[in-house]
Point group: C2
Chain length 444, copies 2
């Protein structure tokens, strides 16, 4: 059985902790059973591995999230990145084509597609097992997960089943109904659409062939733009002749707003926070080095990261995405496959040039690719760790205190070796533009 985890999202609703480079599923804010902290994506993968499901995992994601997935979950997972943002049908079509053309899975194999950012309990994964079982017994072409509704809500899609049972045929769908209609639907036994889909690989392959017939996966990926921008629900589920649904009744939460997330935090605060003696219902998360002090607050959430600081009543925290657009600039913190960086300071000068100071952490054994910048000089001061540095083909060892001058136009690479490497980088030159960089190969 193949499990495709959809990992996307723009990261506006959990600003300033999430940003375009770090969606909510990567925030390490949940308590792990091992005692430390884990992100939503780490939690869901742990839950899958702890379940009785015998599955192979593939992530359907975008290029920006690829490095975060590897950093948080290690190498060796299947990761399919969409070349451009389209919608869920193209993303799932691409991942299924990867299973078929790259992993050579058979058309009979059962595929389950699920989101990676819902907070659930173990029963969720046994429900997935029953869904896959239903597909393998040919009870329907598509089997969905239906969530038992807590309350009438205008936010979800509703699935109306024909009659009660473990695997129920679906009569019809209703997208985001009015509150009155939702109440009526729930009275008729309708379930929320959980966004989990199960089908045989061959079933989807035929739908893919309608849009793109390719000889290889790389050809298909190159022609990704030929897929229509449409959701999997509209393109596949609503057009299918035989759709069934399996009910899930346990915890099912979208931790996509501060209000919802705060309920699952392991305590009142995370990071360098001092809570005074007169706070109530207040949560604080501080990813900055400087201290955060909270006192006399009631039902407030405070979050601070290199991207910004948010102080918001829990009640209003659902609406912050309306404001975030006017504050977002370049991400000030990013995880990369080689480690992470943080912007310490930046200035744009009147004459069009700029200064950018970063702190880089390169993980032991990892390297930054061999590259040159045409329009900026860089000065690297090694402040901790050990590694190897290459400038125009000349290799040298580096350690704490070494200063590396990298003038514009010169090829350079660095590798941490024997310890994590910490570097303070000062860039002076023209603003960062995509064409400023050229990448080459270097054999370590």
């Amino acid at each position: 059985m193949q499990l495709i985890l959809l990992s996307g999202g723009s990261g506006k609703r959990l600003w300033p902790l999430s940003n375009d480079a770090r969606s909510k599923q990567f925030l390490p804010l949940l308590k792990s059973p091992a005692g430390g902290m884990e992100s939503m994506i780490q939690r869901v993968v742990r839950q899958i591995r702890d379940s009785s499901l015998d599955v192979e995992l593939t992530f359907a994601t975008n290029a920006v999230q690829r490095d975060s997935i590897i950093n948080q979950l290690g190498d060796g997972l299947g990761i399919v990145t969409e070349p451009q943002r389209r919608d869920t049908f193209p993303a799932i079509a691409l991942a299924c084509s990867y299973l078929s053309m790259e992993k050579h899975c058979s058309d009979d194999e059962v595929v389950v597609v699920m989101p990676c950012d819902v907070f659930t309990e173990d029963g969720y994964f046994s429900t997935i097992g029953r869904m896959a079982q239903a597909v393998s017994e040919d009870l329907a072409d598509i089997v969905l997960m239906g969530i038992s509704p807590d309350c009438p809500s205008e936010k979800f899609g509703y699935i109306v089943p024909e009659c009660e049972g473990e695997v129920m045929r679906v009569l019809r769908f209703t997208e985001k109904p009015s509150l009155d209609k939702a109440t009526m639907l729930i009275g008729q036994g309708a379930l929320w659409n959980g966004g989990v889909f199960s089908f045989r690989l061959g079933y989807l392959r035929k739908l893919v062939d309608r849009y793109v017939q390719a000889e290889s996966f790389s050809e298909l990926r190159g022609r990704y733009g030929e897929f229509p921008k449409i959701s999997f629900d509209y393109e596949v589920v609503e057009k299918a002749e035989s759709v069934a649904v399996v009910r899930y009744e346990g915890v099912w939460k979208d931790l996509g707003t501060w209000n919802a997330l705060c309920e699952e935090l392991p305590g009142t605060h995370i990071g360098n926070v001092l809570m005074g003696d007169h706070n109530e219902g207040t949560s604080a998360i501080n990813e900055l080095g400087m201290p955060l002090f909270c006192e006399g607050l009631k039902d407030i959430v405070v979050a601070a990261s290199p991207d910004g600081i948010m102080v918001c009543s829990k009640e209003r925290s659902e609406y912050i995405k309306d404001y975030v657009g006017s504050m977002q600039h370049r991400p000030m913190y990013e995880e990369r496959r080689w480690g992470s960086y943080r912007v310490l300071d930046s200035t744009d000068y009147d004459d069009g040039s700029m200064m950018l100071t970063k702190s880089l952490k390169i993980r032991d054994g990892k390297c930054i690719s061999y590259q040159l910048h045409r329009h900026r000089n860089e000065v690297w001061t090694v402040v901790d760790g050990k590694g190897e540095f290459v400038l125009d083909g000349e290799r040298r060892s580096v350690s704490r205190g070494d200063v590396l001058n990298i003038p514009a136009g010169h090829l350079h690479a660095v590798r941490a070796y024997g310890a994590d490497l910490s570097i303070i980088e000062v860039q002076v030159g023209c603003p960062l533009v995509e064409e400023d960089i050229e990448r080459f190969e270097w054999e370590w």
Copy 2:
């Protein structure tokens, strides 16, 4: 007439904007009549200059505040710095000795001593004029300012005058009475002690002579430790035979708590702040580069600086000094006579060494003294401006993009020349200890 402004204070109650290096009187948070912002000390000096007082100003302060006074008020003011922190009697004794021995003021000259951190209106300065007039008419040895009380308060000292009049003889003093006693005192016509003192220079000189008889001001300053640690009120005012008081009835506020300060801020926020549409009675000040977003808040004050972030109900903001001690570390921002610096990043390593990254701004024409560090290397990257750099006696011009390696033990200095100079400094080595630095002279 000589006016001595007392500038001290530890800066705990307005954390994180104030710190040991930046007391509340230097925070540029008040609206100036010219349209910009001004600090309390800039406000009080502007008020003095706009008043009809014909005075010469001298600041009695400590070494840490000296550079801030010059930066905010320019050169050319008298500044007397106490060699160590003692109390108000020694500080005023030192400043008076400076007037006598360095400025050669006569014993007949009238001196007024006042705090620099009260928020008042113009009538305050005409009251000072009347106090000085009373001294010059020999109505008393010491003339005080009495503030008309708003309400009974346990926080102040009370002055009980003999009878009503413009210049009233003082019957007795009561320090911080109970609320009941305060009510009774006010019923008897008592006034709050405003901490403004007026006397002839010769009167104080005699008191100084009791403790230290010196030939020169520098000798006296060197023997500062021989003065007792005692307040001016206890040592001078309460022992004086003839004390009078002049009443001031206008605005008189200590903007020493966030609650009080917020009332005088020019709007709801200062700095890079986005206020949402549902805040009430809330103030936000952000000195960081990153954005601060506030929404759904009621009667809250938010303040962010390189030293930390505070989110506090206005009601509880009086008590933050009880918590600040556990958060304070080295100041992350400081004004110096040559400009200012901000700490961008710092790490202490397990082996006892450290890394510190700073952004320096050196003002045009100013220089950092010729010095060496025994135990740390520094790398300076010039990111903006122009200047001259000296390393072991070798002088060179520097401008944007230049990298200056300063190994431990090497003498260096820099001067901004033709423009303000911005430098990113990375220190690697042993922790900053006072003995690590040696300063020398360099003739530019």
